[in-house]
């Protein structure tokens, strides 16, 4: 360390004796008091606007004709790192090419909101909503079934997509009932 000159040492001594550093700090706090601009949000009374990609409560979605998107492929269950999801897949009665999730359970007490199930879903049947106020008195209220998840999706995403085969006529082949395909003009 370089040798401090006498005048520098005198200034340091003077600063120590007059509590200069303390006064600088106290000036800072006082300026915050005078220019009072709280960053607090009075949470239950006012809420912040959440970003679009906010990862909140999970939900199951429907197409615009009220049918479920979920095809029961179990990919979300495989992707989930905390084993939140349990899917019981089944054939649609009378349509052997089509599958759906007969039962769909989510144990939200374990969910860590990573969003990997949403990314894994091939038909975008899963989505993350902006709901986060899910504090409950009974832990069992967080064991959600398919109806509850669909209800969350219904209230969070009122605008629904068209069916896949109507969106992408030349691409959609997965889990599509071909009898309902609109016929191509000859």
């Amino acid at each position: 360390m370089a040798q401090a000159t006498t005048s520098e040492r005198f200034i340091t001594w003077l600063k120590t004796m007059t509590f200069y550093e303390l006064l600088v700090g106290m000036k800072a706090t006082m300026s915050h008091l005078i220019h009072y601009k709280p960053i607090t949000l009075q949470y239950p009374h006012e809420k912040r606007t959440l970003p679009d990609n906010y990862r909140g409560m999970l939900a199951l979605l429907r197409y615009d004709d009220e049918t479920e998107k979920c095809v029961g492929c179990d990919l979300c269950e495989a992707a989930c790192p905390s084993r939140v999801i349990r899917v019981v897949s089944a054939e649609v009665p009378g349509e052997p090419t089509k599958r759906y999730s007969k039962e769909y359970y989510m144990d939200m007490t374990r969910c860590l909101f990573c969003g990997m199930c949403v990314e894994a879903c091939p038909v975008d049947a899963l989505a993350m909503t902006r709901e986060f106020e899910w504090a409950v008195f009974d832990k069992r209220d967080l064991q959600l079934n398919k109806q509850q998840l669909l209800a969350i999706g219904d209230r969070s995403f009122p605008v629904r997509e068209k069916r896949l085969e109507l969106q992408h006529q030349n691409v959609a082949f997965f889990n599509v009932a071909f009898t309902h395909m609109p016929q191509k003009p000859k």
Partner: protein, 358 residues
């Protein structure tokens, strides 16, 4: 007999009034501290109970009153119960000698009553110092009786800290005592009448400005406030000496801390800043012909000075981090003590010369 009972009644009325005001101040302080601290840190402080949270002290009081009173296993029950009382009573008892307003007397039923001081004893300063020391026992016993490591460490720290800094408080006051030639707070305050240049911080021939700084710093340390809050260092010792306390016993410690703050502020105002004396000669109300109401101005000035000190306490708390233990001791013994001693020597010599040539 009637005179005795009348005197008793008057004294009790004064005590009740002072206690009421002190308790009200403590209530205001608990809210004001959180609010000021919040504002300085860009927060809001309590906002939920009442408009802008002004009823928060009542909610806190009710909560503490209804909380379960827990005595930890292995605690010394007698000492454990005694400690909060021993902490609170000395903090409140010191107000007996504080002059809150002008020292005029009123005649009532043939008795001479001093309305703004409960008891003008001639060793007022000594009395306050003595009782402030007893307050330390409450903290030490509370720490010891709790049967907890954290409490014991907090109590021991408090013992060392209060011994170190009480010395400085006492020595800082000596300069004022030399100048005033009295230990009575009423006489000391009266001697500072007639403008701020007569206050002992600035008074000729020996301005007590260094003693004042020493006193303020030591008073912060003595009341266990930030940056000297080692006895209750919440980041190291959970809550220090009152870790194991709950409910009303905790409330007693809490009241004791804030009452001590008010007390040291009152003493600082009375000794160094002229007490109830306005910073200009006389009072405005007397000048404009409202002589009977001049006391209002005196009380108002006293209140302003005391609240100024209390604000300083909050301000320090919002700004400064806690001192390390060795820094605390070094500061107390190697910086504050020599300054206080030198101040006594200088004041004594200055007063001697001043009195020779007066």
């Amino acid at each position: 007999m009637t005179e005795l009972s009348l005197r008793l009644a008057v004294s009790l009325a004064q005590i009740a009034a002072v206690m009421g005001i002190v308790m009200l101040t403590v209530m205001i302080l608990t809210l004001a501290e959180r609010k000021v601290l919040g504002w300085m840190q860009d927060r809001m402080g309590p906002m939920e109970v009442g408009p802008y949270g002004i009823l928060q002290p009542i909610a806190d009081g009710l909560k503490l009153f209804f909380k379960e009173d827990i005595v930890p296993a292995g605690a010394n029950k007698f000492m454990f119960s005694l400690a909060p009382i021993l902490a609170m009573v000395p903090a409140l008892i010191g107000f007996a000698v504080i002059p809150f307003g002008p020292s005029e007397t009123i005649e009532l039923f043939g008795m001479t009553i001093k309305p703004f001081v409960i008891s003008d004893i001639n060793i007022g300063v000594l009395y306050i110092l003595a009782f402030a020391s007893i307050g330390a026992y409450g903290i030490i016993l509370g720490g010891w009786a709790s049967n907890s490591k954290y409490s014991l460490l907090g109590g021991l720290r408090s013992a060392a800290q209060i011994i170190s800094y009480e010395l400085n408080v006492g020595l800082a006051i000596v300069g004022v005592l030399i100048m005033a030639g009295s230990l009575s707070l009423v006489k000391i305050t009266d001697a500072q009448a007639g403008g701020f240049w007569h206050w002992y911080v600035f008074a000729f021939p020996a301005p007590q400005i260094f003693a004042f700084v020493v006193y303020v710093i030591s008073a912060v340390a003595e009341t266990n406030r930030v940056p000297f809050d080692l006895p209750e260092a919440e980041s190291e010792l959970v809550a220090g000496f009152f870790t194991e306390y709950s409910g009303m016993r905790f409330a007693f410690f809490f009241i004791a801390e804030y009452a001590n703050m008010v007390l040291v502020s009152c003493v600082a105002a009375a000794l160094f800043l002229g007490g109830w004396n306005a910073p200009y000669p006389g009072t405005i109300l007397a000048h404009i012909g409202l002589e009977p109401f001049a006391w209002i101005e005196g009380v108002a000035w006293f209140t302003v000075k005391v609240y100024g000190f209390l604000f300083l306490f909050f301000w320090l708390r919002a700004t400064l981090p806690r001192l390390r233990y060795d820094q605390l001791m070094k500061f107390g013994w190697k910086v504050m003590l020599p300054i206080a001693l030198a101040n006594i020597v200088v004041t004594a010599i200055a007063m001697y010369i001043y009195n020779q040539f007066k």
